[in-house]
Symmetry: C2
Subunit: 296 residues, 2 copies
Protein backbone atom coordinates (compact mmCIF):
# COMPACT_ATOMS: atom_id res chain seq x y z
CA UNK A 1 0.00 0.00 0.00
CA UNK A 2 2.85 2.35 0.78
CA UNK A 3 4.38 1.35 -2.55
CA UNK A 4 1.19 2.08 -4.43
CA UNK A 5 0.81 5.48 -2.86
CA UNK A 6 4.48 6.25 -3.67
CA UNK A 7 3.92 5.62 -7.37
CA UNK A 8 1.27 8.27 -7.80
CA UNK A 9 3.50 11.32 -7.31
CA UNK A 10 6.21 9.64 -9.39
CA UNK A 11 3.75 9.15 -12.21
CA UNK A 12 2.72 12.75 -11.83
CA UNK A 13 6.30 13.95 -12.11
CA UNK A 14 7.02 11.76 -15.10
CA UNK A 15 3.82 12.98 -16.74
CA UNK A 16 4.82 16.59 -16.30
CA UNK A 17 8.31 15.91 -17.57
CA UNK A 18 7.04 14.26 -20.73
CA UNK A 19 4.50 16.97 -21.40
CA UNK A 20 7.19 19.61 -20.98
CA UNK A 21 9.58 17.75 -23.27
CA UNK A 22 7.15 17.45 -26.14
CA UNK A 23 5.93 20.97 -25.71
CA UNK A 24 9.37 22.51 -25.99
CA UNK A 25 10.36 20.25 -28.84
CA UNK A 26 7.41 21.26 -30.98
CA UNK A 27 7.83 24.94 -30.26
CA UNK A 28 11.54 24.78 -31.17
CA UNK A 29 10.65 23.14 -34.47
CA UNK A 30 8.08 25.72 -35.39
CA UNK A 31 10.52 28.49 -34.55
CA UNK A 32 13.32 27.25 -36.78
CA UNK A 33 11.07 26.61 -39.71
CA UNK A 34 9.33 29.94 -39.47
CA UNK A 35 12.64 31.73 -39.65
CA UNK A 36 12.37 34.00 -36.68
CA UNK A 37 16.13 34.29 -36.64
CA UNK A 38 16.85 34.56 -40.35
CA UNK A 39 20.35 33.56 -41.33
CA UNK A 40 22.47 36.39 -42.72
CA UNK A 41 22.79 34.82 -46.06
CA UNK A 42 20.97 35.54 -49.19
CA UNK A 43 20.28 32.52 -51.28
CA UNK A 44 18.05 29.61 -50.98
CA UNK A 45 18.33 28.23 -47.47
CA UNK A 46 15.29 26.28 -46.32
CA UNK A 47 13.20 25.94 -49.39
CA UNK A 48 11.28 22.69 -49.25
CA UNK A 49 9.30 21.60 -52.23
CA UNK A 50 6.45 19.27 -53.08
CA UNK A 51 8.65 16.82 -55.01
CA UNK A 52 9.92 13.80 -53.17
CA UNK A 53 12.80 14.15 -55.53
CA UNK A 54 13.99 17.36 -54.12
CA UNK A 55 16.00 16.84 -51.01
CA UNK A 56 19.13 17.68 -52.91
CA UNK A 57 20.39 20.98 -52.43
CA UNK A 58 18.22 23.92 -51.99
CA UNK A 59 19.34 24.09 -48.38
CA UNK A 60 22.92 24.92 -49.22
CA UNK A 61 23.46 28.51 -48.23
CA UNK A 62 26.85 29.68 -49.32
CA UNK A 63 28.50 32.62 -47.71
CA UNK A 64 30.41 33.14 -50.93
CA UNK A 65 27.87 35.29 -52.57
CA UNK A 66 26.06 37.28 -49.98
CA UNK A 67 26.15 40.23 -52.28
CA UNK A 68 22.74 41.04 -53.55
CA UNK A 69 24.22 42.06 -56.86
CA UNK A 70 24.15 39.12 -59.23
CA UNK A 71 27.08 40.25 -61.25
CA UNK A 72 29.68 40.02 -58.54
CA UNK A 73 31.54 37.01 -57.19
CA UNK A 74 32.21 34.66 -60.09
CA UNK A 75 32.69 37.46 -62.54
CA UNK A 76 34.88 39.55 -60.27
CA UNK A 77 38.13 38.15 -61.63
CA UNK A 78 37.27 38.67 -65.26
CA UNK A 79 38.64 41.68 -67.12
CA UNK A 80 36.13 44.43 -67.60
CA UNK A 81 35.44 45.75 -71.06
CA UNK A 82 33.69 48.93 -72.17
CA UNK A 83 29.98 48.60 -72.73
CA UNK A 84 28.16 50.94 -75.01
CA UNK A 85 24.86 49.71 -76.41
CA UNK A 86 22.74 51.36 -79.10
CA UNK A 87 21.20 54.64 -78.08
CA UNK A 88 17.90 55.92 -79.44
CA UNK A 89 16.38 59.40 -79.50
CA UNK A 90 13.60 60.05 -77.04
CA UNK A 91 11.03 59.90 -79.85
CA UNK A 92 12.35 56.53 -80.98
CA UNK A 93 12.37 55.28 -77.42
CA UNK A 94 8.74 56.34 -77.01
CA UNK A 95 7.72 54.62 -80.22
CA UNK A 96 9.68 51.46 -79.49
CA UNK A 97 8.28 51.23 -75.97
CA UNK A 98 4.73 51.58 -77.27
CA UNK A 99 5.23 48.97 -79.96
CA UNK A 100 6.75 46.53 -77.54
CA UNK A 101 3.93 46.96 -75.07
CA UNK A 102 1.38 46.47 -77.84
CA UNK A 103 3.13 43.30 -78.95
CA UNK A 104 3.33 41.83 -75.46
CA UNK A 105 -0.19 42.90 -74.58
CA UNK A 106 -1.49 40.76 -77.42
CA UNK A 107 0.07 37.71 -75.79
CA UNK A 108 -2.39 35.36 -74.15
CA UNK A 109 -2.09 31.87 -72.72
CA UNK A 110 -3.56 29.54 -75.35
CA UNK A 111 -4.45 25.89 -74.89
CA UNK A 112 -5.72 25.25 -78.39
CA UNK A 113 -2.63 24.62 -80.44
CA UNK A 114 -2.48 23.61 -84.07
CA UNK A 115 -0.50 20.50 -85.11
CA UNK A 116 0.95 22.51 -87.98
CA UNK A 117 4.73 22.11 -87.97
CA UNK A 118 7.03 24.98 -87.00
CA UNK A 119 10.57 25.25 -88.39
CA UNK A 120 13.05 24.07 -85.79
CA UNK A 121 15.51 26.92 -86.38
CA UNK A 122 12.94 29.38 -85.13
CA UNK A 123 12.67 27.47 -81.89
CA UNK A 124 16.46 27.51 -81.63
CA UNK A 125 16.47 31.31 -81.73
CA UNK A 126 13.70 31.47 -79.17
CA UNK A 127 15.76 29.28 -76.82
CA UNK A 128 18.86 31.38 -77.46
CA UNK A 129 16.88 34.47 -76.52
CA UNK A 130 15.81 32.83 -73.27
CA UNK A 131 19.44 32.01 -72.56
CA UNK A 132 20.38 35.70 -72.45
CA UNK A 133 18.68 36.14 -69.06
CA UNK A 134 20.69 37.32 -66.08
CA UNK A 135 21.37 34.72 -63.41
CA UNK A 136 22.76 34.65 -59.91
CA UNK A 137 26.56 34.75 -60.21
CA UNK A 138 26.17 34.06 -63.94
CA UNK A 139 25.43 30.42 -63.24
CA UNK A 140 22.91 30.16 -66.15
CA UNK A 141 21.09 27.41 -64.22
CA UNK A 142 18.69 26.36 -66.95
CA UNK A 143 18.12 23.50 -69.35
CA UNK A 144 15.47 23.72 -72.05
CA UNK A 145 14.30 20.31 -73.18
CA UNK A 146 12.49 20.66 -76.49
CA UNK A 147 10.40 17.60 -77.33
CA UNK A 148 9.32 17.07 -80.92
CA UNK A 149 9.08 13.29 -80.89
CA UNK A 150 5.44 12.07 -80.92
CA UNK A 151 5.96 9.06 -78.69
CA UNK A 152 7.72 11.09 -76.04
CA UNK A 153 5.07 13.78 -76.16
CA UNK A 154 2.43 11.12 -75.71
CA UNK A 155 4.24 9.63 -72.75
CA UNK A 156 4.46 13.11 -71.23
CA UNK A 157 0.74 13.52 -71.75
CA UNK A 158 0.00 10.24 -70.01
CA UNK A 159 2.08 11.20 -67.00
CA UNK A 160 0.57 14.67 -66.68
CA UNK A 161 -3.04 13.56 -67.21
CA UNK A 162 -2.74 10.73 -64.73
CA UNK A 163 -1.59 13.15 -62.05
CA UNK A 164 -4.27 15.67 -62.90
CA UNK A 165 -7.03 13.07 -62.90
CA UNK A 166 -6.07 12.00 -59.41
CA UNK A 167 -6.16 15.62 -58.30
CA UNK A 168 -9.59 16.20 -59.73
CA UNK A 169 -11.09 13.00 -58.44
CA UNK A 170 -9.90 13.86 -54.97
CA UNK A 171 -11.63 17.17 -55.33
CA UNK A 172 -14.81 15.51 -56.53
CA UNK A 173 -14.91 13.70 -53.26
CA UNK A 174 -14.98 17.08 -51.54
CA UNK A 175 -17.06 19.09 -53.91
CA UNK A 176 -19.49 16.70 -55.46
CA UNK A 177 -21.70 19.40 -56.88
CA UNK A 178 -19.04 20.29 -59.45
CA UNK A 179 -19.78 20.06 -63.11
CA UNK A 180 -18.27 16.81 -64.30
CA UNK A 181 -17.76 17.97 -67.81
CA UNK A 182 -15.84 21.02 -66.71
CA UNK A 183 -13.55 18.88 -64.62
CA UNK A 184 -12.92 16.41 -67.40
CA UNK A 185 -11.98 19.23 -69.74
CA UNK A 186 -9.45 20.41 -67.25
CA UNK A 187 -7.52 17.20 -66.90
CA UNK A 188 -7.44 16.34 -70.58
CA UNK A 189 -4.42 18.00 -72.09
CA UNK A 190 -4.80 17.44 -75.78
CA UNK A 191 -2.21 20.07 -76.56
CA UNK A 192 0.46 17.77 -75.16
CA UNK A 193 -0.05 15.56 -78.20
CA UNK A 194 -0.97 18.11 -80.82
CA UNK A 195 1.52 20.91 -80.23
CA UNK A 196 4.55 20.45 -82.49
CA UNK A 197 6.91 21.10 -79.57
CA UNK A 198 6.81 20.81 -75.83
CA UNK A 199 9.42 22.92 -74.07
CA UNK A 200 10.19 21.60 -70.59
CA UNK A 201 12.12 24.14 -68.60
CA UNK A 202 14.37 22.64 -65.96
CA UNK A 203 16.13 24.60 -63.25
CA UNK A 204 19.52 23.35 -62.10
CA UNK A 205 19.26 23.54 -58.36
CA UNK A 206 23.04 23.24 -58.08
CA UNK A 207 26.00 22.77 -60.38
CA UNK A 208 28.90 20.39 -60.25
CA UNK A 209 32.46 21.71 -60.27
CA UNK A 210 35.32 19.95 -62.06
CA UNK A 211 36.49 18.49 -58.73
CA UNK A 212 33.06 17.00 -58.19
CA UNK A 213 31.98 19.45 -55.52
CA UNK A 214 28.59 21.09 -55.59
CA UNK A 215 28.36 24.61 -56.91
CA UNK A 216 25.63 26.77 -55.44
CA UNK A 217 23.14 28.10 -57.93
CA UNK A 218 21.94 31.20 -56.18
CA UNK A 219 18.42 32.28 -56.91
CA UNK A 220 18.10 29.52 -59.50
CA UNK A 221 14.32 29.59 -59.47
CA UNK A 222 14.11 33.34 -59.91
CA UNK A 223 16.76 33.22 -62.65
CA UNK A 224 15.04 30.47 -64.60
CA UNK A 225 11.68 32.21 -64.25
CA UNK A 226 13.16 35.42 -65.64
CA UNK A 227 14.50 33.33 -68.49
CA UNK A 228 10.98 32.00 -69.08
CA UNK A 229 9.77 35.58 -69.34
CA UNK A 230 12.24 36.17 -72.17
CA UNK A 231 11.15 32.91 -73.78
CA UNK A 232 7.51 33.98 -73.71
CA UNK A 233 8.41 37.35 -75.26
CA UNK A 234 10.42 35.60 -77.97
CA UNK A 235 7.51 33.28 -78.80
CA UNK A 236 5.08 36.17 -78.94
CA UNK A 237 7.49 38.03 -81.18
CA UNK A 238 7.25 35.34 -83.87
CA UNK A 239 3.53 34.68 -83.56
CA UNK A 240 3.70 31.39 -81.69
CA UNK A 241 1.50 30.63 -78.69
CA UNK A 242 1.87 28.67 -75.49
CA UNK A 243 0.38 28.25 -72.04
CA UNK A 244 2.45 28.34 -68.84
CA UNK A 245 1.88 25.10 -66.99
CA UNK A 246 3.56 23.93 -63.81
CA UNK A 247 2.91 20.16 -63.47
CA UNK A 248 5.21 19.94 -60.53
CA UNK A 249 3.83 16.78 -58.98
CA UNK A 250 4.93 15.01 -62.17
CA UNK A 251 8.34 16.65 -62.02
CA UNK A 252 10.30 13.57 -60.93
CA UNK A 253 8.61 11.30 -63.46
CA UNK A 254 9.24 13.74 -66.29
CA UNK A 255 12.83 14.21 -65.19
CA UNK A 256 13.39 10.47 -65.38
CA UNK A 257 11.57 10.12 -68.68
CA UNK A 258 13.77 12.78 -70.23
CA UNK A 259 16.90 11.44 -68.52
CA UNK A 260 17.75 14.68 -66.81
CA UNK A 261 20.21 14.52 -63.92
CA UNK A 262 19.31 14.72 -60.25
CA UNK A 263 20.25 18.38 -59.92
CA UNK A 264 17.58 19.38 -62.42
CA UNK A 265 14.00 20.05 -61.43
CA UNK A 266 11.10 20.75 -63.71
CA UNK A 267 9.94 24.33 -63.40
CA UNK A 268 7.57 24.74 -66.31
CA UNK A 269 6.11 22.93 -69.29
CA UNK A 270 5.25 25.00 -72.36
CA UNK A 271 3.45 23.49 -75.35
CA UNK A 272 4.39 25.58 -78.38
CA UNK A 273 2.91 26.07 -81.84
CA UNK A 274 0.55 28.15 -83.92
CA UNK A 275 -2.86 28.73 -82.34
CA UNK A 276 -5.54 26.44 -83.73
CA UNK A 277 -8.06 28.21 -86.01
CA UNK A 278 -10.82 27.94 -83.39
CA UNK A 279 -8.64 28.91 -80.43
CA UNK A 280 -10.37 30.86 -77.69
CA UNK A 281 -9.22 32.60 -74.53
CA UNK A 282 -11.06 33.74 -71.40
CA UNK A 283 -12.25 37.32 -71.77
CA UNK A 284 -10.16 38.68 -68.93
CA UNK A 285 -8.64 42.11 -68.47
CA UNK A 286 -5.27 43.21 -67.24
CA UNK A 287 -4.49 45.78 -64.59
CA UNK A 288 -4.03 49.33 -65.75
CA UNK A 289 -0.93 51.35 -64.98
CA UNK A 290 -2.43 52.80 -61.79
CA UNK A 291 -2.79 49.32 -60.35
CA UNK A 292 0.59 48.12 -61.54
CA UNK A 293 2.76 51.00 -60.53
CA UNK A 294 3.36 53.30 -57.59
CA UNK A 295 5.45 56.33 -58.41
CA UNK A 296 7.55 58.05 -55.74
Amino acid sequence: MALISAFTPVFGAVLCGIIAFFFFRTSWRSESSSGQNPPRTSGESSRPWVDEDLQDDTEISGKDNEDDDWTVSETENLPHVPYSPPRYSEEEMMERSQQFFTLLNQRRSVRFISPEPVPRDIIHNVIRAAGTAPSGAHTEPWTFVVVGDSETKHRIREIVEEEEEINYKQRMGDKWVNDLRRLRTNWVKEYLDTAPYLILVFKQTYGVLPDGKKKTHYYNEISVSISCGLLLAALQNVGLVTVTTTPLNCGPQLRLLLRRPANEKLLMLLPVGYPSPDATVPDLTRKQLDDLMVFV
Copy 2:
Protein backbone atom coordinates in the same frame (compact mmCIF):
# COMPACT_ATOMS: atom_id res chain seq x y z
CA MET B 1 -6.22 3.92 0.34
CA ALA B 2 -8.54 2.41 -2.25
CA LEU B 3 -8.82 5.87 -3.76
CA ILE B 4 -5.05 6.22 -3.97
CA SER B 5 -4.59 2.88 -5.64
CA ALA B 6 -7.34 3.77 -8.13
CA PHE B 7 -5.46 6.86 -9.28
CA THR B 8 -2.33 5.05 -10.37
CA PRO B 9 -3.83 3.25 -13.39
CA VAL B 10 -5.74 6.44 -14.25
CA PHE B 11 -2.50 8.40 -14.27
CA GLY B 12 -0.95 5.70 -16.39
CA ALA B 13 -3.72 5.91 -18.94
CA VAL B 14 -3.60 9.69 -19.03
CA LEU B 15 0.18 9.55 -19.44
CA CYS B 16 -0.08 7.19 -22.38
CA GLY B 17 -2.78 9.28 -23.94
CA ILE B 18 -0.72 12.44 -23.73
CA ILE B 19 2.42 10.79 -25.05
CA ALA B 20 0.46 9.38 -27.97
CA PHE B 21 -1.10 12.75 -28.69
CA PHE B 22 2.17 14.63 -28.87
CA PHE B 23 3.85 11.87 -30.81
CA PHE B 24 1.30 11.86 -33.57
CA ARG B 25 1.11 15.62 -33.67
CA THR B 26 4.84 16.05 -34.23
CA SER B 27 5.06 13.32 -36.81
CA TRP B 28 2.17 14.80 -38.77
CA ARG B 29 3.95 18.17 -38.76
CA SER B 30 7.25 16.83 -40.00
CA GLU B 31 5.50 14.84 -42.70
CA SER B 32 3.68 17.80 -44.10
CA SER B 33 6.71 20.09 -44.10
CA SER B 34 9.21 17.65 -45.57
CA GLY B 35 6.78 16.69 -48.27
CA GLN B 36 7.30 12.97 -47.97
CA ASN B 37 3.65 12.59 -48.70
CA PRO B 38 3.40 15.62 -50.90
CA PRO B 39 0.04 17.27 -50.61
CA ARG B 40 -1.88 16.89 -53.76
CA THR B 41 -1.87 20.57 -54.38
CA SER B 42 0.34 22.57 -56.60
CA GLY B 43 1.18 25.94 -55.17
CA GLU B 44 3.42 27.28 -52.56
CA SER B 45 2.90 25.20 -49.42
CA SER B 46 5.87 25.33 -47.08
CA ARG B 47 8.11 27.98 -48.54
CA PRO B 48 9.97 29.78 -45.82
CA TRP B 49 12.07 32.78 -46.63
CA VAL B 50 14.94 34.71 -45.12
CA ASP B 51 12.87 37.76 -44.20
CA GLU B 52 11.57 37.98 -40.68
CA ASP B 53 8.74 39.83 -42.31
CA LEU B 54 7.49 36.83 -44.14
CA GLN B 55 5.35 34.72 -41.93
CA ASP B 56 2.32 35.78 -43.83
CA ASP B 57 1.02 33.40 -46.16
CA THR B 58 3.19 31.29 -48.32
CA GLU B 59 2.02 28.26 -46.38
CA ILE B 60 -1.55 28.51 -47.54
CA SER B 61 -2.14 25.68 -49.91
CA GLY B 62 -5.49 26.10 -51.55
CA LYS B 63 -7.24 23.18 -53.04
CA ASP B 64 -8.98 25.59 -55.35
CA ASN B 65 -6.35 25.60 -57.98
CA GLU B 66 -4.69 22.25 -58.09
CA ASP B 67 -4.59 22.48 -61.82
CA ASP B 68 -1.12 23.01 -63.12
CA ASP B 69 -2.55 25.15 -65.86
CA TRP B 70 -2.47 28.77 -64.77
CA THR B 71 -5.41 29.80 -66.87
CA VAL B 72 -8.04 27.72 -65.15
CA SER B 73 -9.93 28.32 -61.95
CA GLU B 74 -10.54 32.06 -61.65
CA THR B 75 -11.01 32.48 -65.35
CA GLU B 76 -13.22 29.44 -65.79
CA ASN B 77 -16.45 31.37 -65.43
CA LEU B 78 -15.57 34.04 -67.92
CA PRO B 79 -16.90 33.86 -71.46
CA HIS B 80 -14.39 32.67 -74.01
CA VAL B 81 -13.65 34.77 -77.03
CA PRO B 82 -11.89 33.85 -80.26
CA TYR B 83 -8.17 34.49 -80.29
CA SER B 84 -6.35 35.03 -83.51
CA PRO B 85 -3.04 36.87 -83.26
CA PRO B 86 -0.89 38.12 -86.14
CA ARG B 87 0.65 35.41 -88.24
CA TYR B 88 3.97 35.80 -90.05
CA SER B 89 5.50 33.88 -92.92
CA GLU B 90 8.26 31.46 -92.05
CA GLU B 91 10.84 33.85 -93.49
CA GLU B 92 9.53 36.70 -91.39
CA MET B 93 9.49 34.48 -88.32
CA MET B 94 13.11 33.53 -88.94
CA GLU B 95 14.15 37.14 -89.33
CA ARG B 96 12.17 38.37 -86.35
CA SER B 97 13.56 35.58 -84.15
CA GLN B 98 17.12 36.44 -85.15
CA GLN B 99 16.62 40.15 -84.54
CA PHE B 100 15.06 39.56 -81.17
CA PHE B 101 17.88 37.27 -80.09
CA THR B 102 20.45 39.81 -81.26
CA LEU B 103 18.68 42.54 -79.29
CA LEU B 104 18.46 40.49 -76.10
CA ASN B 105 21.98 39.16 -76.46
CA GLN B 106 23.29 42.70 -76.30
CA ARG B 107 21.71 43.10 -72.87
CA ARG B 108 24.15 43.08 -69.98
CA SER B 109 23.85 43.90 -66.31
CA VAL B 110 25.32 47.38 -65.88
CA ARG B 111 26.19 49.08 -62.60
CA PHE B 112 27.47 52.31 -64.06
CA ILE B 113 24.40 54.36 -64.74
CA SER B 114 24.26 57.93 -65.96
CA PRO B 115 22.27 60.55 -64.02
CA GLU B 116 20.85 61.78 -67.33
CA PRO B 117 17.06 62.02 -67.02
CA VAL B 118 14.78 59.59 -68.83
CA PRO B 119 11.24 60.60 -69.88
CA ARG B 120 8.76 59.15 -67.46
CA ASP B 121 6.31 58.00 -70.14
CA ILE B 122 8.87 55.56 -71.43
CA ILE B 123 9.12 54.00 -68.01
CA HIS B 124 5.33 53.77 -67.94
CA ASN B 125 5.33 51.69 -71.11
CA VAL B 126 8.09 49.49 -69.75
CA ILE B 127 6.00 48.80 -66.64
CA ARG B 128 2.91 48.15 -68.76
CA ALA B 129 4.90 45.60 -70.74
CA ALA B 130 5.94 43.85 -67.53
CA GLY B 131 2.29 43.76 -66.48
CA THR B 132 1.37 41.57 -69.45
CA ALA B 133 3.06 38.54 -67.87
CA PRO B 134 1.03 35.41 -67.16
CA SER B 135 0.32 34.71 -63.51
CA GLY B 136 -1.10 31.87 -61.47
CA ALA B 137 -4.91 32.05 -61.75
CA HIS B 138 -4.48 35.51 -63.31
CA THR B 139 -3.77 37.02 -59.92
CA GLU B 140 -1.23 39.54 -61.34
CA PRO B 141 0.57 39.52 -57.97
CA TRP B 142 2.99 42.35 -58.63
CA THR B 143 3.56 45.95 -57.66
CA PHE B 144 6.23 48.04 -59.35
CA VAL B 145 7.40 50.92 -57.19
CA VAL B 146 9.24 53.43 -59.33
CA VAL B 147 11.33 55.86 -57.29
CA GLY B 148 12.42 59.11 -58.90
CA ASP B 149 12.65 61.23 -55.76
CA SER B 150 16.27 61.93 -54.74
CA GLU B 151 15.72 61.80 -51.01
CA THR B 152 13.96 58.48 -51.18
CA LYS B 153 16.63 57.04 -53.45
CA HIS B 154 19.24 58.18 -50.98
CA ARG B 155 17.41 56.59 -48.08
CA ILE B 156 17.19 53.36 -50.08
CA ARG B 157 20.92 53.54 -50.68
CA GLU B 158 21.61 53.98 -46.99
CA ILE B 159 19.51 50.97 -46.08
CA VAL B 160 21.04 48.72 -48.74
CA GLU B 161 24.64 49.76 -48.09
CA GLU B 162 24.30 49.33 -44.35
CA GLU B 163 23.13 45.78 -44.83
CA GLU B 164 25.84 45.01 -47.35
CA GLU B 165 28.57 46.46 -45.17
CA ILE B 166 27.54 44.20 -42.31
CA ASN B 167 27.65 41.23 -44.65
CA TYR B 168 31.11 42.05 -45.90
CA LYS B 169 32.57 42.80 -42.51
CA GLN B 170 31.33 39.47 -41.28
CA ARG B 171 33.12 37.90 -44.17
CA MET B 172 36.29 39.83 -43.43
CA GLY B 173 36.29 38.16 -40.06
CA ASP B 174 36.45 34.84 -41.90
CA LYS B 175 38.64 35.70 -44.84
CA TRP B 176 41.00 38.41 -43.64
CA VAL B 177 43.30 38.08 -46.61
CA ASN B 178 40.71 39.65 -48.89
CA ASP B 179 41.49 42.80 -50.76
CA LEU B 180 39.87 45.60 -48.80
CA ARG B 181 39.43 47.81 -51.79
CA ARG B 182 37.58 45.14 -53.70
CA LEU B 183 35.20 44.62 -50.80
CA ARG B 184 34.52 48.30 -50.38
CA THR B 185 33.67 48.62 -54.05
CA ASN B 186 31.15 45.88 -53.64
CA TRP B 187 29.15 47.41 -50.90
CA VAL B 188 29.09 50.93 -52.24
CA LYS B 189 26.10 51.26 -54.51
CA GLU B 190 26.50 54.61 -56.16
CA TYR B 191 23.92 53.76 -58.77
CA LEU B 192 21.24 53.93 -56.11
CA ASP B 193 21.77 57.70 -56.01
CA THR B 194 22.71 58.40 -59.61
CA ALA B 195 20.22 56.32 -61.59
CA PRO B 196 17.20 58.46 -62.52
CA TYR B 197 14.83 55.70 -61.42
CA LEU B 198 14.91 52.78 -59.05
CA ILE B 199 12.29 50.14 -59.79
CA LEU B 200 11.50 48.05 -56.74
CA VAL B 201 9.56 44.96 -57.71
CA PHE B 202 7.28 43.63 -54.99
CA LYS B 203 5.52 40.31 -55.07
CA GLN B 204 2.11 40.09 -53.42
CA THR B 205 2.33 36.90 -51.44
CA TYR B 206 -1.45 36.86 -51.07
CA GLY B 207 -4.38 39.03 -52.01
CA VAL B 208 -7.29 40.30 -49.97
CA LEU B 209 -10.85 39.58 -51.07
CA PRO B 210 -13.71 42.08 -50.66
CA ASP B 211 -14.90 40.16 -47.58
CA GLY B 212 -11.47 40.56 -46.02
CA LYS B 213 -10.41 36.94 -46.51
CA LYS B 214 -7.02 36.06 -47.90
CA LYS B 215 -6.76 35.13 -51.55
CA THR B 216 -4.04 32.68 -52.48
CA HIS B 217 -1.52 33.96 -54.97
CA TYR B 218 -0.33 30.76 -56.53
CA TYR B 219 3.19 30.75 -57.81
CA ASN B 220 3.54 34.43 -56.99
CA GLU B 221 7.31 34.35 -57.01
CA ILE B 222 7.55 32.58 -60.35
CA SER B 223 4.91 34.91 -61.82
CA VAL B 224 6.64 38.08 -60.66
CA SER B 225 10.01 36.78 -61.86
CA ILE B 226 8.55 36.10 -65.30
CA SER B 227 7.22 39.65 -65.22
CA CYS B 228 10.75 40.87 -64.44
CA GLY B 229 11.96 39.04 -67.53
CA LEU B 230 9.51 41.04 -69.63
CA LEU B 231 10.59 44.22 -67.86
CA LEU B 232 14.25 43.54 -68.68
CA ALA B 233 13.37 42.90 -72.32
CA ALA B 234 11.36 46.13 -72.45
CA LEU B 235 14.27 48.13 -71.00
CA GLN B 236 16.71 46.58 -73.44
CA ASN B 237 14.32 47.39 -76.26
CA VAL B 238 14.57 51.13 -75.56
CA GLY B 239 18.30 51.25 -74.83
CA LEU B 240 18.11 51.57 -71.05
CA VAL B 241 20.26 49.53 -68.71
CA THR B 242 19.89 48.02 -65.28
CA VAL B 243 21.34 45.40 -62.96
CA THR B 244 19.25 42.73 -61.23
CA THR B 245 19.79 43.05 -57.50
CA THR B 246 18.08 41.11 -54.74
CA PRO B 247 18.71 42.99 -51.44
CA LEU B 248 16.39 40.68 -49.61
CA ASN B 249 17.72 41.19 -46.11
CA CYS B 250 16.66 44.82 -46.48
CA GLY B 251 13.26 43.79 -47.77
CA PRO B 252 11.27 44.64 -44.65
CA GLN B 253 12.96 48.02 -44.20
CA LEU B 254 12.38 48.96 -47.81
CA ARG B 255 8.78 47.80 -47.62
CA LEU B 256 8.20 50.07 -44.64
CA LEU B 257 10.05 53.00 -46.22
CA LEU B 258 7.88 52.75 -49.32
CA ARG B 259 4.74 52.11 -47.26
CA ARG B 260 3.89 48.88 -48.95
CA PRO B 261 1.40 46.60 -47.19
CA ALA B 262 2.25 43.47 -45.27
CA ASN B 263 1.34 41.12 -48.10
CA GLU B 264 4.04 42.61 -50.32
CA LYS B 265 7.60 41.40 -50.27
CA LEU B 266 10.53 42.87 -52.12
CA LEU B 267 11.71 40.57 -54.89
CA MET B 268 14.10 42.71 -56.86
CA LEU B 269 15.58 46.20 -57.07
CA LEU B 270 16.46 47.52 -60.51
CA PRO B 271 18.27 50.85 -60.96
CA VAL B 272 17.36 52.17 -64.41
CA GLY B 273 18.86 54.72 -66.76
CA TYR B 274 21.24 55.22 -69.65
CA PRO B 275 24.65 53.60 -69.22
CA SER B 276 27.33 56.03 -68.08
CA PRO B 277 29.86 56.87 -70.83
CA ASP B 278 32.60 54.88 -69.09
CA ALA B 279 30.42 51.90 -68.22
CA THR B 280 32.13 48.52 -68.25
CA VAL B 281 30.97 44.93 -67.88
CA PRO B 282 32.79 41.70 -67.03
CA ASP B 283 34.00 39.97 -70.17
CA LEU B 284 31.88 36.87 -69.71
CA THR B 285 30.40 34.54 -72.28
CA ARG B 286 27.00 32.92 -72.50
CA LYS B 287 26.22 29.27 -73.10
CA GLN B 288 25.79 28.22 -76.68
CA LEU B 289 22.68 26.44 -77.93
CA ASP B 290 24.16 22.99 -77.29
CA ASP B 291 24.50 23.78 -73.62
CA LEU B 292 21.12 25.46 -73.34
CA MET B 293 18.97 22.99 -75.14
CA VAL B 294 18.34 19.28 -75.35
CA PHE B 295 16.28 18.22 -78.34
CA VAL B 296 14.17 15.06 -78.23
